[in-house]
Symmetry: C3
Subunit: 348 residues, 3 copies
């Protein structure tokens, strides 16, 4: 049976205020279009404001001072953050079932903390260290001498190449490969000779990495994913890249080798950066853009190659009016020809 709360209880849970009936019972959360009369809905994207009028929800979680009317409200300064908290309240994580599956393969000299879980058909290589309450999903391969921090979870079928280090409270999704060889070849004549990739991957605390993303080991030293960074699916982080803490990187983005990315940068989907660059703190890279030069802190860039956002808008506007410009030039030429003819006649 789903738990039920009073609207006032939920408001206290998230530090918000009720505008309406504090005693209304709430047994779940749903989007505006789907919510029923015992569910809380939410307005976290202003795009959907018109849907509030039609929702059948019991109440709506909304930003403080929303001005919404005709429905009970739970107002709070940061509604998306409150939504995260309320979803966790209504959907607590499945209970842990610690233990090492008899069908896992655990190597020698492995250090395993208390309440660790290792799923069936997982492999833990010699010398690996698994912190307290770490979860190694079914079918994962944790290479020799890897370290997985406390409370970090590897979903099924993650691969950590030998020597990979992951911090605490990380969440690594299925299909992720950390520590594969960087793409480094010394071409001589007709042959591409492999440059041994002898570095490693280090993932700091509180990082999440999405399904089927790959982070390559450094040629030498470390490829680094900074603390609290969140990386989406199918992203490529090449060898020797340093991602500053608190970075958000959306799906299918890619960063080429040795580029250093500052703190709290934001990368939209399918964006990319060339290698050996410096990307400043807080930089924002728009979707599909390609960064080919260093970026200063706070840059907001877009395009291929990426340029400052304002400049891109001007170029784009000019480009949009280019057919009209061509027509204008044609007209000027006609008028000029008329004048020339006129003057010639006069002269003549």
């Amino acid at each position: 049976v789903a738990k039920s709360y009073r609207l006032g209880q939920l408001a206290r849970h998230v530090g918000g205020a009720v505008r309406g009936d504090e005693n209304k019972p709430i047994s779940g959360i749903a989007p505006l279009g789907d919510a029923g009369p015992r569910e809380l809905s939410f307005l976290t994207n202003p795009k959907y404001r018109d849907l509030v009028r039609e929702t059948k929800a019991a109440a709506v979680l909304a930003p403080s001072g929303s001005g919404l009317e005709g429905i009970d409200l739970l107002e709070v300064a940061e509604p998306y953050l409150a939504l995260a908290s309320l979803l966790a309240l209504f959907h607590p994580p499945a209970p842990r079932r610690p233990g090492i599956s008899e069908r896992a393969h655990v190597g020698e000299s492995v250090t395993i903390g208390t309440e660790v879980s290792v799923g069936p058909f997982a492999v833990v290589g010699d010398g690996a260290v698994l912190g307290k309450r770490a979860v190694i999903g079914a079918g994962c391969v944790v290479g020799e001498d890897c370290r997985v921090g406390e409370e970090t979870e590897l979903k099924p079928r993650v691969v950590l190449y030998p020597g990979t280090v992951i911090g605490r409270r990380c969440l690594i999704h299925s299909g992720v490969v950390l520590g594969a060889d960087g793409f480094g070849f010394a071409t001589s004549g007709d042959v591409h000779h492999k440059v041994p990739q002898v570095g490693r991957v280090v993932v700091e605390d509180d990082v999440e990495i999405g399904a089927n993303t790959t982070v390559d080991r450094a040629a030498l030293g470390e490829t680094l994913i900074g603390e609290g960074s969140k990386i989406d699916n199918l992203v490529m982080i090449a060898h020797g890249v340093k991602i500053g803490p608190g970075t958000l990187m959306a799906a299918q983005a890619g960063v080429a080798g040795s580029t250093r990315v500052g703190r709290r940068t934001t990368w939209a989907g399918q964006s990319g950066a060339a290698g050996h660059l410096e990307i400043g703190d807080g930089a924002i890279i728009a979707a599909k853009s390609a960064v080919l030069k260093d970026l200063p802190a706070g840059a907001f860039v877009i395009g291929i190659p990426a340029v400052e956002h304002g400049r891109w808008k001007r170029m784009r506007a000019s480009l949009n009016r280019l057919p009209e410009l061509r027509q204008e030039v044609r007209k000027l030429r006609s008028r000029l020809e008329r004048l020339e003819a006129l003057l010639e006649k006069e002269e003549g």
Copy 2:
């Protein structure tokens, strides 16, 4: 030993007509450049029409009224469809070997239909339901409470997160991850707080999903892949996206969160769409394009950002002639200066 058919038999199989020798023996199918004298070749892409003259094939499958000469023909209204049918005739699928591998790990309260196959090192979580003749490949992980429909096949190493639902007759290729957490974080101060992703993924009947593609679970509710859609490799479908039935999506395309895609849309390779959009029925998105706005039904768009195809062509043409336009403007200025000098002299 390969089976052999008479050309006339093949024509009857696909509802086509022979122009030439109905009794010619055919023991296989091959492209125009590779086919030998007992093989049928095919012209399904007009680009290769010239190769028909040189082919050593016994006969060529071609569109009705092809006008081809000098070789026996099997003409049919839809030759590519007929090719599909003939390939299936010559290459019947390997016989099923139903049974649950002793080396698989099957949880509790799992419902398994007749003639189901579960490969070695596969994991089937508690409460899962596997329909009749479903195939779970080696090393797959089917999470708790997943449902896999009748005759659906998961190739080796697919991961279904808990609660994922797949319809009938689907084909899911290796490395696919369905149901990983959507990329949702509520940023407050310097911290990105995880928004629990408590929805699920639903894949309707007759869907094919290519290798290493990822479809994330919805934050709430469902991420949906509509009936009969075909999705290529390394595609990203984000949380809460709805893909209408009959959609074709080529490799490395991506759709951001909550976007609703209509029926029978077509996405070329490496294309993408932003989140929270409405993409109309039958829309076509060209390769590498980025859809950043809602699209009406029947739209054909291209570019970054994507614009209507005709408009893109005009912009592109103008851009191509931009250097000439600059030169033209320079010339106009010279002529203008000459006139100005002339008039000044007159005035003077």
Copy 3:
């Protein structure tokens, strides 16, 4: 304990010359910014030349005639190639541990060469052939009738669909899927009918393929990766593509079906090519570019759609100055209007 060498020994190992103290002991290799006083550093990218002054390295590997001063040098004609060789010297590969894990699943009629290694939870299908010293990593699935050449290594969790052929000395990284069905559907009315994909994938000798890359089997015949080609992570090679020998393809690139790629081409990150094209030998495709036409040998293209590099630069320069061009046209119009007014007055 790390091995130690004299600088002169290293010079002889790579055929280089010491400028400075031949007897200096070297116990490792590190980048300029990280190296300590017993480590060799290297200058393989001129961008980092200024760091040589500040490095604490014992000596620097540099190009012959580098002109660098103030530090001991190991000069050599091809320093990146020498670096590869020295890294292998200091970091020899882990010793092989041949043997078939008891926890692997090996089918019937499998041919296994001497010193082959098969990891835990790997599956080797009926009729497969594994060459001498081949390594099949943990959790790999090698389909029926596959062939894996001598000294080829599959890292953990690679999938080879049935019939895939891999040459000698290849390195296939985790998550790679070779031989999944090509994306081929014959659409008739509202239904996309599957075109059976009955060809295979052939990978020649000395190829490396990066993590989570996918290469689809041909509809008929072969998808081919030519000898000595190196392919990065998350790349998509579609059905029937032929990649010429010695090609380099960076991360997230994609090639659509049936395109034939010449010898020694270079593909930067996130680039792509449409299907059924001919890409000439030695062609270079810039990052994020989309090749939509055949390319002659030696082409260097960039853009979406990709055009010759010089032309792209001129278009880009014109585009950059487009706002100025618009202003110029406005000015010309004003001057023209002044002349027109003047002449009208005269006439009048």
